[in-house]
Subunit: 313 residues, 2 copies
Amino acid sequence: MSRVAVIGAGAVGCYYGARLAEAGHEVHFLMRRDFEAVRRDGLHILSKDGDVHLARPDVAREPSAIGPADWVLCALKATAVEEARALVAPCVGPSTRILVLMNGLGLEDRFAAWFGAERVFGGLAFTCINRGEPGVVHHIDYGPVTIGHLLDDPGEVDIALALWAGAKVETVRAPSLLAGRWTKLCWNIPFNGLAVTAGGITTDRVLADPALRASVTALILEVAAAGNADLAAHGGTARLDGEATARNMVAATEAMAAYRPSTMIDFVEGRPMEVAAIFEEPLRRASALGVATPLLSMLTGQMRSLDARARVS
Amino acid sequence: MSRVAVIGAGAVGCYYGARLAEAGHEVHFLMRRDFEAVRRDGLHILSKDGDVHLARPDVAREPSAIGPADWVLCALKATAVEEARALVAPCVGPSTRILVLMNGLGLEDRFAAWFGAERVFGGLAFTCINRGEPGVVHHIDYGPVTIGHLLDDPGEVDIALALWAGAKVETVRAPSLLAGRWTKLCWNIPFNGLAVTAGGITTDRVLADPALRASVTALILEVAAAGNADLAAHGGTARLDGEATARNMVAATEAMAAYRPSTMIDFVEGRPMEVAAIFEEPLRRASALGVATPLLSMLTGQMRSLDARARVS
């Protein structure tokens, strides 16, 4: 059994941390908003895969109260990446591994600069999950986590997958973490972006509008092209199939209930959005590599402007 | 001197109607919101080209109180096009001419179906103009009106230009009304659309964001390509130069003060937006003609969704 520190106990951190605790791991949650509620009533996961109730989870307000762990699951919002180093560092000892369970591109590189690349992993959660009232998380649909190692070391990925072996979480090996990140962006860029810029709508309404639906596919093709250029620039052999990715993601999203992407929830609630990691960094790489991404460019400009308004008001 | 009925006395109708009254024409204004204020205090135009105060303009609540005119200036919002026939008809006699001073594509065709193509003209106001308190209009910048005849009859355009000869309004002849309409869309689609979808921002802030600025040019190129296909399909010889149009419109907009496009004002005030005439009809024609307009398509989907929300709330 491993000692696990969950840093950033939002919906994703609580859900996956609870699944590890359910499997017998010693899980510590760093909590802010929900600290009192979870101390009082425990942590409730209402899940389509079976509910979990942790009656007395170990919760801390400060990472120093957790200390070094075997695994750090960092599930902060990408908007909080500047705070991540200080929050994660107290939990990192000589043999700690770090799973970056966040949205967006380039975040693992930050962790590598701080803590060393060999211990950094990326986790890509394809899941419909939202926070409820304090201490309650709603797991609505899907749930697999794709896991890769920043240096794509297969033995290290084996170790990461072993952590989840007894947990009620489907895991998928990412032979190329970078390819996995770009694949995830193929969903987040169109669906998070259009759900916000069309006024804060659910994914089913994005797909119901013929022009927005066509834009989903066109955006995925742009993102896949940018991703393939980025993968080639990094010397890897993995490539994305844009057409197949578009077909699969539209079909998978169509099968969801009316879903509110996390960025859309941030938007309607007036919180900062993950614009830098999900939109600006992919656009920056596409531009640097000479890949034309006019739709991504427009969407990024719209998102940046909407985010600036939210930060002002 | 001509008898002129201004139907739809918003900012544009009041401004251009007042300029005709100032030149000595007999101008009647159909008014709703501002009727009482204008009866009491007159109509105030605060203009960078010199203020106008009409102390006792002829205002009516019903078009039947105006009756047949030499010219109808229809300056309704495009969202009110379904009401236009009933509002204009009482002012149309055997020799009445109609100047459609509205935004968007295809509106003159509606008037032609109702009243006959030979009497229908289009006016394209390139101006920064906003309503102030009731009875007050702020004319901020620019002001020329490009005028064309629906059948592109040069003699008819002469007659239209003659109406404005003594007025303090610069007029420009449109040898092709359709080319004029598409040229106007080259401004309205990017600037109205991005000002709205980026959260209700002014044109200077659209141009200040590098991604949105690039999107302005890319959208203009799409609109010009669609316009040229539409012009070819209509058998005309006029064509738009997309690159030059983009350069000129960006430069002209850069020279404006922080400007709030009318659609952006409608958006932030929760009113219906001119989505059908400015976005959907151009996209429909582009699609029918096989012209790829991915940015226009995404923007149209976003605008349609935002507009639906405004109509619900």
